[in-house]
Every structure is written in C-alpha cells, then in structure tokens.
C-alpha cells in the first residue's frame, strides 16, 4: 500500500477548504456590498443545513427544531446585543441553544421516527407562542429592536461560524463518533449492543448541531434590526434545511453545501419578485426530489462519476 499517496490525498480536501475560506474571507475587499450580503445569507443556510445534517442526516432522526434553536439565538442576541461585544453575544447565543437542545434532547430522544419529528415541530410553536404571550403580558410589546452591526462584521462572524462548523463536521465524520452515529442510523439497537452509548451520543450531537444554529441566529438578528416571535421562530426555517439537505443529498459531505447554495441563491433571486411562487417552486422541487432523486444531486453526480473509467477508485 502506498502510504504517501493516501496521505497526500487526505490533505487535498482540507487544502481546498482552506483556499476557499481564504478567498471568502477577503470577499469584502473585492466584492460589492450586495455580494457580501448575498454570500452572508447563503452561508447562513449552509450553516443551518450542514448542522442539521450532522445530527439528522446520520442518525435518521428527522429534526424539525432548526427554527427553534435559530430563534433562541436570535432572542439571545436581541436581549444582549449592544451591552457586550458581538462575538461574545454570538458565542452565548450558541451556548444557550446548546443548553436548550441538550435539555430537549435528553427528554425526547427516546421517541422514535415520526414522533420525534412531530415533537420538534411542536417545540418551535411552543416557544413561539409562549414568547408571544410573555411579551404581550409582561413587556407590553410584541417585538424588539436589535442593535445594528455593519455588514462586513456580520459576514466575517458568519464565516467564522462556518469555518468552525466545517472543522467540527470533518472531525465528527472521521472519528469513531461519526461511525457510531451512522450505526445508530442503520440499526439503533445493534449499535447499543456493540457498546455505543446511544443516548449520550444522540443528545450531545443534537446539542452540537443546535450550537451552530443558535450562533447563526444570534448574528443574523443584528442584520434584521427588528424581530418578533413570528420572525424569529419562522417555521419555514425548520423545513428549508431539510429540503436543502435532501436536495443536495446527504451521503456526501458536499451534498448539503451544494443543496444549500443552489436553493439559497434561488431564494435570493425569486423571493423579492415572486414570494408565493418561490415557495410553490420549493414545494415542487421537494416533491420531485423525494419521488425521483432519493440520493439528491450529489447522489446523481456520483452515479455519473462512476460511469467514467477510473472514476470508481478516484472517488473513495
């Protein structure tokens, strides 16, 4: 076996990531303001999708709580921004989400299949309605204003979250925990019998994925300037990451990236002109992908790739 060859191949992927990250980090110096804002929102969707895939993509537990953790981040930011540096606000937003997810996960991750999906869907609405009730009853207002931060800072912080998420995903995928998560997805009882601490692993992974969602929410809140429970806990943000991940395909690391980028860009060009048509197109895309492309685009790419001579060995 050619050891040096394997090592160099292993270095290619991180190498590409570092180059892409460096190119992106310098973006505010050569791109227009619109470009920066566009890339920021695409990054937000990538963060939500990839962090959703960390947990749900491997274990098969369909979580629809993305909007809940994102919203928790937003509210943390709405309460704290302006009083302490924004970076700390973002970290706190992530940590609060982490805490909420750990609590919720510990309570509910023994639910199987659709029960878990239903519960997480209910969680978003539970937090939203409790907050609406609380705000009207005790603070007397429905929404809150968030201190504005300039676009470059938002972009760099988002990119920072993205980089940390990438490293985390890479580490999880290539560690024994990644294998254990896949084992849970394949056959949970068999995984438990092989010595995997199933409950612990599920709760921690669920909480880690929520950490990034919360952090992304905390920084996005500063861009929106005004938030209320309806905006912060928008149920669409629970479905979109699922759609993006399925569209991109979850078997490969690049699948969710691809899906999030394409659909987020579609949203950007369609949302302002045709808001309802855009959601309608989403519905049609989701339906078509579930019916005809169960492996997503990356699965399709892989299928074609295998047809080329030598493609099989190059793609391992």
């Amino acid at each position: 076996m050619d050891v040096s060859g394997i090592n160099s191949k292993k270095l290619i992927t991180p190498g590409i990531f570092i180059v892409v990250l460096a190119l992106l980090a310098a973006l505010p110096f050569y791109a227009s303001l619109y470009g920066v804002v566009l890339i920021t929102s695409i990054l937000m969707y990538i963060i939500l999708t990839v962090s959703w895939t960390i947990f749900s993509g491997t274990t098969g537990y369909l979580s629809l709580a993305t909007a809940a953790f994102f919203g928790v981040g937003i509210y943390t930011s709405a309460i704290l921004a302006g009083q302490i540096p924004i970076v700390i606000v973002v970290i706190l937003g992530g940590l609060v989400s982490f805490g909420v997810a750990a609590l919720v996960g510990a309570l509910t991750l023994r639910l199987k299949g659709v029960y878990f999906a239903m519960f997480t869907l209910g969680l978003v609405e539970l937090i939203k309605h409790s907050l609406i009730w609380y705000e009207i009853k005790f603070t007397g207002t429905r929404g809150r204003f968030v201190i504005v931060v300039d676009n470059e800072t938002i972009f760099w912080i988002m990119l920072g979250i993205f980089a940390v998420l990438l490293i985390t995903t890479y580490i999880i995928r290539n560690s024994k925990y990644g294998l254990a998560l896949q084992a849970i997805g394949e056959q949970e009882e068999a995984a438990a019998h092989s010595g995997v601490n199933v409950t612990m692993l599920k709760v921690v992974t669920f909480a880690i994925s929520a950490l990034f969602m919360g952090a992304a929410g905390a920084i996005m809140a500063t861009r929106w300037t005004y938030i209320d429970p309806g905006i912060a806990f928008n149920i669409n943000l629970s479905f979109l990451p699922v759609l993006m991940a399925i569209f991109g395909g979850m078997t490969q690391l690049f699948g969710p990236f691809l899906g999030a980028t394409i659909i987020a860009y579609l949203e950007e060009i369609l949302l302002t002109k045709f808001p309802y048509y855009y959601m309608l197109i989403f519905g049609v895309i989701l339906s078509i992908v579930i019916l005809y492309l169960p492996q997503g685009i990356s699965g399709l790419v892989q299928k074609f790739w295998r047809r080329f001579p030598g493609g099989k060995s190059a793609n391992t």
């Binding site: 098969g60 369909l62 309570l107 509910t108 639910l111 299949g113 659709v114 029960y115 999906a117 239903m118 519960f119 869907l121 209910g122 969680l123 609405e125 539970l126 309605h129 409790s130 609406i132 009730w133 009207i136 009853k137 149920i235 479905f239 699922v242 759609l243 399925i246 045709f274 309802y276 048509y277 959601m279 309608l280 197109i281 989403f282 519905g283 049609v284 989701l286 339906s287 078509i288 579930i290 019916l291 005809y292 169960p294």
Partner: protein
C-alpha cells in the same frame, strides 16, 4: 359559578367537535394509509376559503358548501394518494404523477398571465407521462418488501412539499387577507349560557359525521376492507383487498373530513391561506392524545382537548396553544401510545 362552569364546558365541547372531526381525518390517513399528512390543515384551509368564495361571490349557503367541498377534497385526496403516495409505497413511478407535477409547475406562468406557456407545460407533462409510462415505467415491478419506517419518513417529507404547493396556490388565488362572513351568528340560550348558532351547527355536524363514519366502518364491505388494511395492509392485499384503492379512499376520506371541517371553521372563525399549519399541529396533538390509528380515540381526544382549551382560555386567553403543546410533550414522554392506543 355553576353557570360559568357549564359555560366553559359547553364551549369546550363546541370547540372539541371541530377538533374531533379534524383529528379523525388525520387518524384515518395515519392509521390506515400510514401517511402522517402534514398537509392536512391545508385541506381545511381549502374548504374554508372555497366556502367563503361560494358564500360571498355566489351567495351559496355555507351548509351547501359542505356538499361541494367534501367531494372535491375527497377526489383531490384520492388522486394525490393514488399517484404520489402509491409511488412512495411501491417504489415505482405511477401513471399520472408527472401530469400532476406539470399542473403544479404551470401555476407559475398562469400567474404571470402567460396561459400559452402554461398550457404547453401541462401538455408536455401529459405527453411525457404517457410516453414514459408506455416505455419505461410499465416494465418496472413494484417492490414486494414494504419498509414502513422509510415510507413514513418519505411520505411525511412529501406532504411537506404538498403544504408548500397547496398553501402557495391558495396565496396566489385568495391573497394573504383574513376572510370572514356572517352566517347564523344569532345567539342560542343553553341553561343560561349564550352560544352562537353556528357553533352548535358545527358540533352537530361533527357528531353526525363521526357517527356516520363509524357505521360505515362497522357495517359496510368497504369499511371491513379499511379495517383489514388498518391492521395489516400487506396481508389484506394478499387476501384480495384492492389495497391501493382502499388506501387511496382512506386518504381521500381523511382529506374530505378536513375539507368539511374547513367549511365549519369558516362559519365560526376568520380564515386565510396561512391558517393550515396551526390546525395540522392541533390534529397531530389530538391524534397522539387519542392513540395513533385509533379513530374512536381521536374522536374522544378531540373533545378532551377542546375542553382543556376552553378551560385554559377562561383563565389565561393567550395560553391555549401553549397548553396543548405542554399536554403533547407530557403525553409523548409518559404514554406515547395515547389513551386508546394498543
């Protein structure tokens, strides 16, 4: 004090009748067809908005709206199940689904006032459907192994797609405004407490439909086939039940119950295109409360949740939905199979 208690209880029963009807439909779809139909609330919305249009534009009595909306939603539900969900069930494409997708896609050019482009897309869809069916799909054989877990996950995701499609077609046709009309709003006196006549009609219809459906299940041949499919669809199919037909009819009945519930909802509350999800979640909670797949359980669960909602609303108006979720969470943790579950 007695009058107040009675007041709250009756209000709860009136609300509960509506919940029971909605939940029975979902229970039928989930219990028999194994589709956790997240688009259930969208059929309620369709029923409500159609009735509004019929009443305001054409002056049709909302009670006649039930006769219109019930069959329409039944047919829509039947078609959706016998194309898309049958595809997901058997893992092979079914004739007709590409045409339907073509119609969904054609909404976009229609909205942009380009009927020619829209017609071309629809015709293309139908042609593609026929050609593909005759050449490729016909040779595929349905998968014999039915993986329930995988089907439940996929069909739920597919119904999310339906939510987006139906909801946004409604947004395009009716706009985002809240619609309401006044019909049978005169008060009726029950033991000293006053209630709108429309509420009482709602309860009456919910009870009547529940009873009629129960008799249908217990006494007819189709009812027997449905009960057989509910306990084991694959075996029922081997015993000569036309399983695709039965499951599609079940799904259609579920959708029709949602459509009728929508008519009744529109008589009591304002309706708009975004109202569906809230009712879906309530229906899911009631079904979980009553026990997955138990139609009687959903019926009873609906009334229980209605009474709880009414009591909570009496003490703290903003918290009714929150109370439902809390019940849902406690229920899932303590007794996930529900009160009537096996």
């Amino acid at each position: 004090m007695f009058v107040t208690t009675l007041d709250v209880l009756i209000a709860g029963l009136l609300l509960g009748g509506l919940y029971a009807l909605i939940a029975m439909g979902l229970s039928l779809q989930y219990g028999v067809a194994k589709v956790l139909n997240v688009a259930h609330g969208e059929f309620i919305m369709l029923g409500g908005l159609t009735t509004w249009t019929l009443y305001i534009v054409f002056g049709v009595n909302p009670l006649i709206g039930i006769v219109v909306c019930g069959p329409i939603t039944l047919i829509i539900g039947f078609i959706i199940h016998s194309t898309f969900f049958r595809h997901l069930r058997e893992s092979i494409p079914v004739f007709g689904e590409i045409s339907l997708l073509g119609i969904f896609i054609a909404v976009l050019p229609f909205g942009l006032n380009q009927p020619i482009v829209a017609s071309v897309i629809i015709i293309l869809g139908i042609v593609l459907d026929i050609v593909l069916y005759k050449t490729v799909f016909k040779r595929l054989s349905p998968s014999t192994i039915f993986n329930q877990g995988a089907f439940e996950g996929k069909s739920m995701l597919f119904s999310f797609g339906l939510v987006f499609i139906i909801q946004n077609i409604a947004f395009i046709s009716w706009g985002p405004d809240y619609r309401s009309y006044s019909y049978m709003r005169f008060p009726v006196d029950i033991a000293g407490a006053l209630f709108g006549a429309n509420r009482l009609v709602t309860l009456g219809f919910a009870l009547a439909i529940g009873l009629a459906f129960y008799i249908f299940l217990a006494r007819t041949r189709m009812g027997k086939a449905i009960r057989a499919a509910a306990s084991d669809a694959t075996t029922a199919g081997l015993m000569g039940v036309n399983i695709n037909m039965v499951l599609a009819i079940c799904f259609g009945f579920g959708a029709a119950m949602a459509g009728v519930a929508g008519v009744l909802v529109s008589m009591c509350y304002p309706v708009n295109a975004a109202m569906g999800m809230e009712y879906t979640i309530i229906a899911i909670i009631v079904v979980a409360l009553g026990g997955m797949g138990s139609i009687l359980g959903s019926f009873i669960g609906g009334f229980i949740l209605g009474i709880i909602g009414s009591i909570v609303t009496y003490f703290e108006p903003g918290l009714a939905l929150v109370a439902y979720y809390v019940i849902f969470i406690i229920l899932l943790l303590v007794r996930p199979k529900g009160i009537m579950g096996k």
